[in-house]
């Protein structure tokens, strides 16, 4: 169970949210600039809320007094701007977070679905926008995290690839049973991927629906 309770002053409004995610798929849905990425960054430990508390089960990620470094939070995070390592090949990027070599077959499956096998030896500046996004998705999935954060994971993909990737995400959740938080702007996608949709506006939760 991931409990998130954040207060943080942003430039134009205060972000103030409070929600819990079980081993389910929660969608953050809201207009551009409503604080979605900020929430994911806080969970991953890439920024510090002004106050609040974030914990995953018994693991306290953050509260007034404590701060757990990003490294040990064990989150898988697909960044909105990918943040691929420019000096590493696709292969090195994807294998970066993998500890044990045994999981190879799971990864192979992911690579097949995402269709990025042929990019194996390419560097990020040598591949297309959508290819980058798929590599970033593979990288986030490859770590076998305790929480998965996906910031607009499929926005640069065409319909067909998108559908296949959605199915893969669902399949992986089936398998891992951990909290997924997914940001998307596409209502159809939200309804397909999520158990629960959190509607954000100017940093506040205005509605929560269960699919």
């Amino acid at each position: 169970m991931l409990d998130v309770q954040i207060k943080k002053q942003l430039f134009h409004y205060d972000l103030e949210v409070d929600f819990s995610v079980g081993n389910e798929k929660v969608i953050l849905f809201g207009p551009s600039g409503s604080g979605k990425t900020t929430i994911l960054d806080s969970i991953a430990g890439l920024n510090k809320p002004d106050s609040g508390k974030i914990c995953l089960g018994n693991n306290l990620f953050f509260d007034q007094k404590q701060w757990m470094p990003t490294r040990v939070r064990n989150v898988g995070y697909l960044f909105q701007d990918y943040a691929l390592f420019p000096h590493m090949t696709v292969e090195k990027n994807i294998y970066y977070g993998i500890r044990k070599k045994e999981q190879n077959s799971a990864i192979e499956k992911i690579l097949d679905v995402l269709r990025i096998h042929h990019l194996w030896t390419k560097f990020p500046h040598q591949i297309s926008g959508g290819e980058k996004q798929r590599v970033a998705l593979a990288r986030a999935l490859a770590t076998e995290p305790s929480v998965l954060l996906l910031d607009e994971p499929l926005s640069a993909l065409d319909k067909q690839t998108r559908t296949e990737c959605q199915d893969e995400i669902l399949r992986i959740h089936e398998f891992w049973k951990i909290p997924f938080i997914i940001v998307t702007h596409d209502m159809d996608e939200a309804e397909k991927l999520g158990n629960k949709i959190i509607f954000l506006e100017e940093g506040k939760i205005i509605k929560t629906t269960t699919v």
Binding site: G45, A83, L84, F85, P86, T89, F123, H125, R139
Partner: protein, 230 residues
């Protein structure tokens, strides 16, 4: 030019290699540490690092002599505990080279680390990388062009170092005579042919090392400085 004593060449290579290695490691270490932390007095320490560059080498050498001489703070301590004599030995030449070339490495590395995109380091952290791994796999390779510049500069400076070395290591033919000293004293005693010979040697040594460094870097680190455009 028969019967030339080649000790200056070997000595210079040894001194430059050792001092460059030490300067590279410590320069990179401090630059990385200092670009991430900010604390009171940081800019004073940073300015202090630049000191050996501002002062004429002879003065640096004099200061080193005061520190490392038999009666100096460090010198007496080294002598007592390690029975190590620095003055008039090749170790003195290494110390002099380190001190004069450190500012070059530090400043270059510092600039390189400060323009890194911390988003990439964060990405590595989310994947469970330790700070040590983040450094070696992300910060170091991405800062490489700047680090290489520092490496080239400090190697060249260490190789050419003369003033401070003369003071600390002395000019003892066959023992502490680096190439720059051999040149200086050949000029002093009017042996222009000898001086020219050594100038050619040091230039060849410097050039070939720098070109080798650049070539090696292009070969092994091409991707690190890869043009990020499509």
């Amino acid at each position: 030019m028969n019967g030339v004593d080649y000790t200056p060449l070997l000595l210079s290579m040894k001194v430059a290699a050792i001092s460059t290695s030490i300067v590279f490691l410590t320069g990179v270490y401090f630059a990385h540490l200092f670009t991430r932390k900010s604390f009171f007095g940081k800019s004073i320490i940073e300015s202090f690092f630049m000191l050996p560059l501002v002062l004429p080498p002879t003065v640096v050498g004099f200061a080193l002599l005061v520190l490392f001489g038999k009666k100096g703070w460090i010198g007496s301590w080294l002598l007592e505990w390690f029975d190590l004599q620095v003055v008039f030995t090749w170790i003195g030449a290494v110390i002099a080279s380190i001190v004069v070339s450190f500012p070059l490495m530090y400043q270059s590395a510092s600039a390189a680390f400060s323009s890194l995109d911390s988003r990439l380091e964060n990405a590595a952290r989310t994947m469970g990388a330790s700070e040590w791994r983040v450094f070696w796999t992300v910060a170091f390779p991405l800062a490489w062009p700047g680090l290489l510049a520092g490496l080239v500069l400090s190697f060249a400076r260490g190789l050419g170092e003369f003033g401070a070395t003369l003071m600390l290591a002395g000019f003892i033919p066959g023992k502490t005579d680096t190439i720059p000293m051999a040149i200086y004293f050949a000029v002093e005693s009017g042996q222009m042919e000898q001086a020219t010979f050594w100038v050619v040697i040091i230039v060849a040594l410097g050039f070939s090392t720098i070109m080798w460094l650049n070539w090696w870097s292009k070969r092994n680190m091409r991707r690190f400085s890869a043009d990020k455009s499509r």
